[in-house]
Symmetry: C2
Subunit: 290 residues, 2 copies
């Protein structure tokens, strides 16, 4: 038999990974996934008609996130990555319950990445535990999902809601004195409340775009920190999950991506390219109600 | 006959005015309506689960605004005030077509108020026409609704999208150096492009909360302007419409208000009070889909 795939049906299976965010930020997770899992087909949904999730209630976010996740499953996703901190923090169990496929969020991988870089777990230092500071949206902070995930790993956490950072990134002011000033205010307040902080976790997928500014301000206020970006950690955790659930995949030459947005295709293409780091093409408008 | 209302049935008619915004800003219009039309029952809807409208497409805003307007009509509104610049600019004709009751927006009244304060209509000054600068959301600016409304009155307009102002107001930074700095950037850019500006029109119902800061920055950059707030103008135009359509109303002792929000009631009560200038009570959660 010359066709090896016929002898091993599993190797013929192609993999479709759904990636979901309320908007554009989740494209930083897709960006990290592409080189790590090149043998996959990707479907990305940005629920741009209903964004932002970060200022809304748990009930509303859960309703939006579950309908978005179901859409990607209906389009053929074999595995779903919730590339949105707010949706993960507020609705991961709801999404997992609603779908019969593996679903992974960004909070757990982010917490594990913080542990990996933290040389001093809290329990080992009685006179001053290492703390992880999480910057996130209002809704993510109110859920305390990061505090729970970090506590489970023996790390102490403090959380700071930073509602102006997403609008500043979307205004394109990623390298701008106003953004520096806002960061200075947020970081000074947060570090005054948690002076033992040694690690900073970016708990929103918009924030990697201002990581250089965050480093600059931390240096300026004399409190340099290790910065964790959950996009890379989530991509690595997804690769582990893929290896576990789909062990025999046919490698393909290049990953393919189809994009869906619930609002303006033109805006998704324009803003999305900044987050993906390459042109965003083939965007489809979808109506998820509302 | 002792019951005078029986002899004049029209005088027994009570009036219910629906007021709609994507969020909280429209409460500044309700605040202006209450003393001006005290003999009415008010229904206010904040579509907080789907805000902001200002960054979204015409199609999405029209869908949201029409469903919100229909809800208020179903609850008994006899007349509807679209107390949202973006919904007015992008969807007033859609709403008027969808409802069998009078519907008024904020753009026309704002433009008329600009005309009333403008002593130099463009056509009279060949060597340097007076211009009206409109500050608004991205979507309102892209619609050019204000330019069309002002042009129809013989006024020249320039428009400036100010996407950071709503988040700054919602962060509570109405009197804050960062807001001053952002205003300085926006106003300097806008006035460099339209140096003949003499009147500033606040084309978003969030902006009246930072009117003192706007005055301060205009003075600082040496370009003081007359500032028009469309909330008062809209309330006056609504009073005219009420007098025309409902001439014989029974005066009531005090206006009553019922509030509806599509997301968190607690947040609506907390933030809404800043815009209404008095406590917001009796808020009902409604699901308009999505």
């Amino acid at each position: 038999m010359t066709d090896s795939t016929a002898a091993h049906p599993n190797t013929a299976k192609s993999l479709t990974i759904g990636v979901f965010d309320s908007g554009f930020g989740g494209l930083t997770v897709l960006r990290a996934l592409l080189p790590l899992i090149p043998h996959a087909h990707y479907l990305f949904l940005g629920d741009t008609a209903r964004l932002p999730y970060g200022s809304k209630s748990r009930e509303t976010v859960a309703r939006y996130a579950v309908s978005s996740a179901k859409f990607l499953h209906e389009q053929g996703a074999d595995l779903l990555v919730i590339a949105c901190n707010t949706a993960t923090a507020l609705a991961l169990p709801d999404i997992q319950q609603a779908l019969p496929i593996p679903v992974i969020g960004v909070v757990e991988p982010g917490a594990h990445a913080a542990l990996a870089t933290s040389s001093f777990p809290a329990s080992n230092i009685p006179d001053g535990p290492n703390q992880v500071l999480v910057l996130a949206t209002q809704a993510t902070v109110q859920s305390h999902a990061y505090t729970h995930a970090l506590s489970a790993l023996g790390l102490e956490a403090s959380e700071k809601a930073c509602p102006l950072l997403v609008p500043l990134v979307e205004e394109g002011w990623t390298n701008h004195p106003v953004t520096d000033e806002v960061l200075k205010i947020y970081l000074t307040e947060a570090l005054a409340a948690a002076p033992a902080t040694q690690t900073l976790l970016l708990g929103c997928t918009h924030y990697p775009l201002i990581e250089p500014a965050i480093h600059r301000i931390l240096d300026a206020i004399g409190h340099p920190l290790t910065i964790i970006d959950s996009a890379d950690a989530t991509a690595r955790a997804t690769a582990t999950l893929v290896a576990h659930h789909f062990p025999n995949l046919t490698p393909t030459a290049k990953p393919t991506c189809i994009f869906y947005a619930t609002d303006s295709i033109e805006k998704f293409q324009r803003l999305g390219s900044n987050f993906l780091g390459q042109p965003v093409t083939e965007v489809n408008l979808v109506d998820l109600g509302g």
